[in-house]
């Protein structure tokens, strides 16, 4: 079972999206901000990180930049998930190191396709080594 770290500060969004991920067959661990996510990543391995962008404290953009700069976490694909839905928001997330971007409200088939895309990509890289 693939394990996802889902980082989201809004209680309802965290509850609703994590429920849908669990029901789609993923093992989901929750973090309510970027600093907590970095703490959790020190002790546990993940196949994917789903990251909200506007969060208090460490924002999603800052979190992504930090994770990509650290060798221990740099290879974990990050899917940015944001209620900022303009094209420049997508670019901003990709520039921060995220592998893909999806907007809220979540359209489940689209989100799952993006998750599969990033997981498949990571596996392809691992097999290629």
């Amino acid at each position: 079972m693939k394990r996802i770290l889902f980082v989201e500060d809004d209680d309802m969004s965290r509850d609703v999206i994590s429920t849908r991920l669990l029901r789609s067959g993923f093992d989901v661990v929750l973090a309510e901000d970027g600093l907590k996510a970095i703490e959790i990543l020190k002790t546990r391995a993940f196949d994917l990180i789903i990251l909200d962008m506007s969060m208090p404290g460490l924002t999603g953009w800052e979190t992504a930049t930090k994770l990509k700069a650290s060798p221990a976490t740099a290879t974990i694909p990050i899917l940015a998930l944001s209620a900022h839905a303009m094209s420049m928001d997508r670019k901003r997330a990709l520039d921060a190191g995220c592998g893909d971007f999806d907007s809220k409200p979540v359209h489940l088939p689209r989100l799952l396709a993006k998750i599969e895309g990033l997981l498949g990509c990571a596996e392809g890289q691992a097999a290629g080594k």
Binding site: D9, D10, D11, M12, S13, D15, V16, I17, T19, R20, R23, S54, M55, P56, A83, H84, A85, M86, S103, K104, P105, V106, L108
Partner: protein
């Protein structure tokens, strides 16, 4: 200087000369007048009290410089020169604008284009204007217009950017409750199909909560749009301030208890009656007290009401809450800017309350101010007239 005024500046604003001679004056006298007044561009010739013509300095001396010029023109009346001129001097009405004067003067043949022109005045001697003065005035007006256009453009760009930011923020703020509404609804559909209903009530409550939040936000956006379109009406009545304060206190009490805050109202008994929009005033004060209660925990919130400068009522809402830093303070009245955007999720609220409160304060003829120190507290001061002018600004 604004552009509408620029259009109404006429040739009367130009510096002028009103040296005149009668039509019997000799050329030699005109030559002497020009020599005595080196800056004089032209001399008006009068027939009795009627304008007869104008002698332009350059044309006159050019003519004297021709073979036998001096012999022909100096001993004869100046009318000989005036009547033999190749073109009539331009004569303008006093209400001619600078722009039209430029157009008319530039229409002259090239060799006469620098000549002075005449303003035919009513009940005053005709004025002679140096063409250079007209050009200088036009340059001055164009420069002012250019500076103003630049400022207007900058203001328009900044307003347009603010609107784009507002739309982007609005989209973000609307999407967050929709994430809950759509997501929970889809989960509930699965729950109903599988008969797993244990979590359903909680999820339905979340949908309802997100829906109410969305509605509050849409109402706020519509109110702001109404104010901007000047379609928000004031309903001015005379009401008891004492009653309003006790009403607000009753609304605020439970909010204060939520975060264990002490709440006191200090009211100046000198103000008994107000003539204003009671509902908007109530909304403003409730919002300010609601904010104070929300951002203060185990602290104190005070509402002070007092009369000031004769006809003003000041409402001061001060708290010992989390306060704001300078950046947060600078954006406190902007829409969807609750310090940082995540605060709405921690503290609730639409992010439009202070923006609306400020606008309402201005509609009521007053204003809303704020002072704050991070981690120490915030004071909002709303100053409104005790009696709103009935025929004041129309929103």
């Amino acid at each position: 200087m604004n552009s509408t005024a620029t259009q109404y500046i006429t040739v009367l604003d130009l510096p002028f000369f009103d040296v005149q001679v009668s039509d019997t004056a000799l050329g030699s006298e005109v030559a002497r007048l020009f020599e005595e007044n080196p800056s004089l561009p032209g001399i008006v010739v009068m027939h009795e009290d009627q304008y007869f013509g104008m002698v332009c300095r350059n044309q006159f001396f050019q003519r004297l410089g021709r073979p036998f010029g001096i012999e022909i023109y100096t001993p004869r009346p100046i009318t000989v020169f005036v009547e033999s001129a190749a073109v009539e001097p331009v004569s303008l009405r006093p209400e001619t604008t600078i722009q039209n004067a430029i157009i008319l003067c530039l229409a002259r043949p090239i060799e006469f284009v620098y000549d002075p022109f005449v303003i035919a005045m009513k009940d005053q001697p005709p004025r002679v204007i140096d063409f250079l003065a007209l050009i200088l005035k036009q340059t001055e007006l164009l420069t002012a217009a250019q500076i103003e256009a630049h400022a207007q453009r900058a203001a328009a760009v900044s307003a347009s950017n603010a609107k784009s930011d507002f739309l982007a923020n609005m989209s973000h703020e609307l999407r967050t409750p929709l994430t809950a509404i759509i997501g929970y609804s889809e989960i509930l559909i699965e729950d109903v199909k599988s008969g797993q209903l244990s979590e359903s009530v909680r999820r339905l409550e979340s949908i309802a909560k997100a829906g109410v939040h969305l509605l509050e936000m849409i109402n706020g956006i519509l109110d702001l749009a109404k104010i901007e379109a000047r379609k928000m009406d004031l309903f001015i009545t005379t009401f008891s301030l004492t009653d309003l304060i006790s009403e607000i206190t009753a609304i605020a009490q439970p909010l204060m208890k939520k975060n264990d805050n002490e709440f006191s109202v200090i009211s100046d008994q000198a103000v008994v009656e107000m003539r204003s929009d009671e509902a908007k005033l109530r909304q403003c004060l409730t919002n300010l007290l609601g904010n104070a209660a929300k951002f203060t925990s185990k602290g104190r919130v005070n509402l002070t009401v007092r009369k000031e400068d004769g006809d003003w009522v000041v409402f001061e809402v001060s708290d010992t809450g989390i306060g704001m830093d300078e950046i947060q303070l600078s954006r406190v009245f902007e829409s969807f800017q609750q310090g940082d955007s995540s605060i709405s999720r921690r503290f609730g609220g639409t992010g439009l309350g202070l923006s609306l409160t400020k606008q309402y304060g201005e509609m009521l003829g007053g204003h809303l101010g704020v002072q704050s120190v991070l981690n120490q507290g915030t004071t909002f001061t709303m100053k409104v007239p005790m009696r709103v002018k009935e025929h004041g600004r129309n929103f």
